[in-house]
Symmetry: D2
Subunit: 319 residues, 4 copies
């Protein structure tokens, strides 16, 4: 049953992606994927999809390697933030304390999961107020639909690797009051993958078992399109722009998401996804459990995932 705590966190706010090919990555995210540049500082570019309401949902940072910098979730209220901090501090997980906010939000409270991913929770944010040149024709959109590149509507989710998904799950439930919507139960009893949500989305974060001896690694970051056709069209855009299409479009069995995976120039995996009208509205939802036998059927329409989907993550790990 749904505890009230599960509403303390409102939604995934932003993901910091690291790149060792900053200019190429920025070109990909703006011109090809179609995010908008909200601002820049000395090491980062702040990007948002056209209907993201905050200043940014992707912070692209120049770095000596690739992967994920930190992950921000916005809470539901200042009081909720206090409750989450209390829970984190009582949890034994590694609190990192307050940090000044990025360009796009106020101060944030950070906590690190046991596998090296840094999360932050924040209430104070910078809502995007478009100038006239970026004002939408329909006032219920956050900004103008600019129809550049794939132009997804909004940030959707991210996928992280952890050596012990069960422990990662405990982290997400304890610190973010997240709930599990679906999971993979391996024959050895371990959780092979787990999908989490803090709201009615089917998931805003997924975690898969790390097999490559990496630490704090990113599997992918995903933006949502309005229609599946937007993804088919995006596939042609990626093709024409020489982007490595790893796999798709196809439909996942788990969560039923229509997907397309590409690698941005520095190697971070980026997904476009469409969930149709599927939401988790049921307050007493019980996680859907997929077995290894189930998984052998492949994706929804039988596709087998390519090998790199199981081996490639960022940063790459030296052998």
């Amino acid at each position: 049953m749904l505890s009230e705590a599960c509403h303390d966190v409102a939604h995934l706010g932003h993901v910091e992606v690291l790149t060792d090919k900053f200019d190429e990555s920025l070109d990909f995210f703006t011109r090809v994927l179609g995010l908008k540049l909200a601002g820049r500082d000395s090491t980062s570019a702040y990007l948002r999809a056209w209907d993201d309401y905050e200043f940014h949902t992707l912070k692209l940072s120049a770095h000596h390697t690739t992967g994920v910098g930190h992950i921000g979730y916005r809470v539901s209220s200042p009081e909720a933030l206090e409750r989450r901090i209390a829970a984190i501090e009582a949890s034994g997980f590694k609190s990192l304390g307050w940090v000044e906010g990025d360009m796009g939000h106020g101060r944030a409270y950070r906590v690190e999961d046991p596998f090296g991913h840094v999360f932050e929770l924040y209430w104070d944010t910078v809502k995007y107020r478009p100038p006239a040149s970026d004002a939408p024709a329909l006032k219920n959109n956050a900004s103008r639909f600019h129809a550049t590149g794939a132009s997804p509507r909004r940030l959707d989710h991210l996928n992280l690797l952890a050596e012990d998904v069960t422990e990662f799950r405990r982290f997400m439930e304890t610190c973010l009051a997240s709930r599990v919507t679906e999971l993979i139960r391996l024959d050895n009893g371990r959780i092979g993958g787990c999908w989490f949500t803090v709201n009615n989305k089917t998931y805003d974060l997924a975690c898969a078992e790390e097999h490559g001896r990496g630490r704090g690694r990113l599997h992918h970051v995903t933006y949502a399109t309005d229609q599946r056709e937007d993804i088919l069209r995006a596939a042609d855009i990626f093709l024409e722009n020489g982007v490595h299409i790893e796999q798709g479009p196809h439909k996942h069995a788990i969560q039923g998401t229509f997907f397309l995976y590409v690698w941005e120039p520095a190697g971070n995996r980026i997904e476009l996804a469409n969930a149709g009208a599927r939401l988790i509205l049921q307050p007493d939802w019980e996680p859907v459990i997929w077995t290894e036998t189930d998984r052998k059927k492949g994706q929804a329409w039988g596709l087998k995932l390519v090998e790199t989907f199981h081996t490639h993550a960022t940063p790459p790990v030296k052998p």
Copy 2:
């Protein structure tokens, strides 16, 4: 700012639709719209979309006239239900007390809005457990995608008429802890229409000003499709089945919903809708306010609503 109370109610559960042409209506809802028949009793048929998780989301009841019988919302927990009852009893709105549940759920607490619509809140429900013949290929779906008629995925929202939308808004906020996502502000200062949600959906209930001296009337009930293409395809299905297509497909300016309105055989207006990836994730969302000047632009792509959209509701009112 989001109060915690706003999560007491989980989602719109079901709508009872009255018909004076029961057999024709049932044929429409099952064969043409593509809902599944969950059960029947002496006066009603219980229907659900293929991915609705409860026993039913539409109760179709034989009656001497048309319109809406009652509206059910499922709460988030037994405790939330107690909080809602306390709020209702303190509100001065017309409590109707407990009723035994329908075939599809347990006991429910009823309250009537000042305009004659009966709402019920309930926790105990009957979750649909498909027999083998209706088992889905993918275990995260509630039942088999049967691809019959329009076959929408799930119940989406309903639209009611009230002579005083501001007062109706007070009812929804007080009794259902609903929040307003968008509204029409008339030049005379009144609210001409108001869109409500209890969760991250853009709306689960809308209310428009009653101009026809009716009481407790229904404007429409809506089911959600996964894609806009499903609605274009449904338009051909309605056409081939002689269903009165009132208007659409087109895109609403308000909420950006892609829509199609038809009248089922007894005259109740039924909508198919697709919201794309649009959700209200922002905890401090401020209602979008549309003026009469805004409304003069028509729908998103300029369509003017047909006259009947403003005049037809069920039951019809005798002149």
Copy 3:
């Protein structure tokens, strides 16, 4: 039955559109509609959709007014051109003789219909050979899918006005060996509209009755998209760019075409259309005849065409 002559003409090649707002029109056609600029001379810009194989399919010419300059059809062979010239010269219709070709093709033979529209037939053409920067990822495309604006795939058809559609039909059958696929038979016995094709497309030219005392007028020019979703997406692009959306998206009853009509800045009506998989493969196709009674049902899903659809054409006629 199909006569061999009907294959003398291969396809609609290009349309010359006149504008008295050249810069604004050119911006519309390139940035918003998403045609590519092939070349320019002192008074015209030559434009093509990304999969048009010829140098241009739209010649946009600065002029003191709007409307259509001339219409080019490419023939099937040099011999077919000779046969057509013989037929034209024997026909009594107004031969204008040879002209030097435009930037995009060789010499062309011109003939004028009785209502002032100038047609030309040509064999020698300039096939587009993309430079590396415009080379397609897939070698069976004429150029790179650039995903700019609406970016339709190819020229589709045009629609002209004539005071006597029956006589216009005689012109098309005699001079272009065109065949009729559908027509509107008015209660007064006249043909109210007529759809023609020279190949397996459902139509490449339509003609409607002129009611405004204009001469040689254009109703609209149309480009084809691969999917209906491309048109829904284009509607948002037009909306965001302040383009006047006259009507749609909707589906025509006649020909079943999914359509969207806008006015480019100078007032010429431009359509995006999608015919699905519908083709006229049947060699002994008999024209589908629509009566006024049929037409009263509106478009496929009941939409009534807006008044301007019946009154607006280019150039406008002074009262």
Copy 4:
């Protein structure tokens, strides 16, 4: 350059598919794929898509094995048929002479290719005249859009295997006046695959090299849908009905077709395809030539075809 002869043949008319599981196959083709049953005789069922204008486009015949029975093309006129017969008789290919027509057409002239496939050409046909119960809402459709199963619009093409594709090409050009739109040129100089059309479709027949020592084998038969979304939706229908989905949906590099391959219960491969707005209108089209290097890139978006696509054909060949 286009010779006039290339228009002698109007279009692919029908394909006879053999099945050793007649009842299961018929259930698949009618209920799941969504063809309509036009008629039956002692050994065959005659089927058509809802917008096919002839009595049937698929003849399903009970047989001791699977594969293709014969392939029918309709000619453009009685005179064209005479020209084709003359060409066939002069060609040295194996003329089989006249046969009485099937239930769905009049007499037909047969010729066998060197690899064992039987073709027939016919002019006299039975056009489908729907009874009131099957009358379309729009009079330009051949019958009612019944929205059953995948419900494609029309027959599209078939794919055959031949040990010498160059010789098969000579057969198609000589006997059917077909033209080549695309082909695969192997490094050894042979043609690995070849796509043919008799009209403006991108192809109505394809041929791939036979590697399995079979004779007269079928690779697949294809029906066309109006939209790509229809194919995504069909994938779910196949999934829910236990149909073996071999591969897709994805987009072919060659021809750019969006595709989905399944095996009907007896093992014949069936495809759903959508070509978007792509047509071959160009009279002097030069075949697009794909090399082995090109083919190593996989399909349009990088998918590698599954092994069975290269090995499975019907009838299967005994080892």
